[in-house]
Amino acid sequence: MAAVKVCEAEKVYIMHGVRDDLRLDGRGCEDYRHMEIETDVVSNTDGSAKISLGHTDVLVGIKAEIGKPRPMVPDEGYLEFFVDCSANATPEFEGRGGEELGVELSNTLYKVFNNRHSLDLRSLCICPGENCWVLYVDVLLLQCDGNLFDAISIAIKAALFNTRIPKVHISEDEEGGKEIELSDDPFDCMRLNVENVPCIVTLCKIGHRHVVDATLQEKACSVASLLIAVTHTGMVTCVRKMGGGSLDPESIFEMTEAGKRVGKSLHAPLMDLLQKEESLGKKRQKVGFLG
């Protein structure tokens, strides 16, 4: 992982600050950095979103393709996640360097979405047992300044909100075989219900307190962090402890509660913002990558 080297004096400085609820950039322990989200940035995708959380930049593109459903669940579609750590972010990611981190991120995403309620997979079914929509969620890391999981999960939620899946019509032809027809109108599409899509909150343990949205320097001072994925109702879909240190059970309970609180409060403003952006319609000024 792109890491920053921090000397002992800096570590002590950061720890003392966190103890007094004051971080390097003046935030409190449970505050996020300035976040900017824009959807529909890539025209070739069915849904896309770009998020910048401080200096972390993530771009998510979703493409919907027609595929065969999984044998065990013939009446559901599925999602495939792939995270690419681009060499743009840091030279360590060049070639296969970013593969380990990318695999870890994709595996966590699979676990976060591995439940019945996050996304209604039945709405992705076209013909049970034969055809279904497969959503390929491709995440691209453009800049890395800590807190990748949170940024990626918020970007995925925004991109899923933005996704427009074309409506298909199954017709029988003469021999009895099924034919798939795409509707002629490019604006005739199906939208996804992203109410229950969880958001990931990463809490890093620094000293005796925990911080949300840690930068790379703060990450270097913490021994362990807890990743918790929370839906808007407060249900927890995935918890993982990361890092090479151990955590006290009491602090895990504390961090889970704080994570749930912070995660729950992320959803409402995010949905408001996405609805507002959508309602601007044609009048929306596209900011793009250099805004």
Binding site: M72, V73, G234
Partner: protein
Amino acid sequence: MPVDTKRIRGPEESQSPLLFLSPDKAPKAPSSRQGVRGNGDVRPVFARCGLVSQAKGSAYIEAGNTKIICSVYGPKETERRDETDMKTGRLVCDFRLAPFSCVKRGAWIQGSEERDLSATLMESLRPGVCLHRYPRSQIDVNVMVLENDGSVLAHAVTCASMALADAGIEMYDIVLGCTLRQSGNACLVDPSYAEECGSWQEGYGDNQGCVTLALLPNLNQVSGLNADGEMREDTLTEAMRTCMDGCHKLYPVVQQALTRAVKKKAPPPEK
């Protein structure tokens, strides 16, 4: 046309015959545990150390039908050199499921799930090992699951820490693992494979999930936590406490297996 003589061409895509089983004949997952085991009981465990003669340390664990073997090699010279290696050692974990271990045949090439389990295993073991005592060295931990009958990661953690202790690697404490399957309001500790995967597809019920926890019992520190599914926060907290109890129940068995192995290697002097 050149003919490929080296490979035996099997069917392009083969499927397990169990998929074609009609749904009413499919074995139903038992809603309550038959037999002696209660909902909060861990399966009786058979643990032995020192079976792989070539390895520095090794351990074998059997819990119900889950069979796991682990061998530890090292400390040895590390292959890659980083600045961090100058001060502390490196722990390299490899978690493999044998292709015949699960109901569905797996591949010999390590899939992404196995890599994820290896990373989780490493994270769970790391706090227990005194790596600062082995600078510029690497310790290899190889876990092989021979038969997967549920709660494989938890037992792999226990097996790996027993193997590390058998190898004489300095540790702060032994690391024990325990899994819990939450289904609605009932929770099953140390689930078998059918209990772990059952009702996942069928149940639209709330509060379905699986929690795996790795604990250092004497220091009371949690070194690994993995929760899946969708649960309420208070259910999750309860599940974690139950897992910690499960780990404490496992401790005497592991202690006994280790003392037995030590006595075999270095028998006490004759009186």
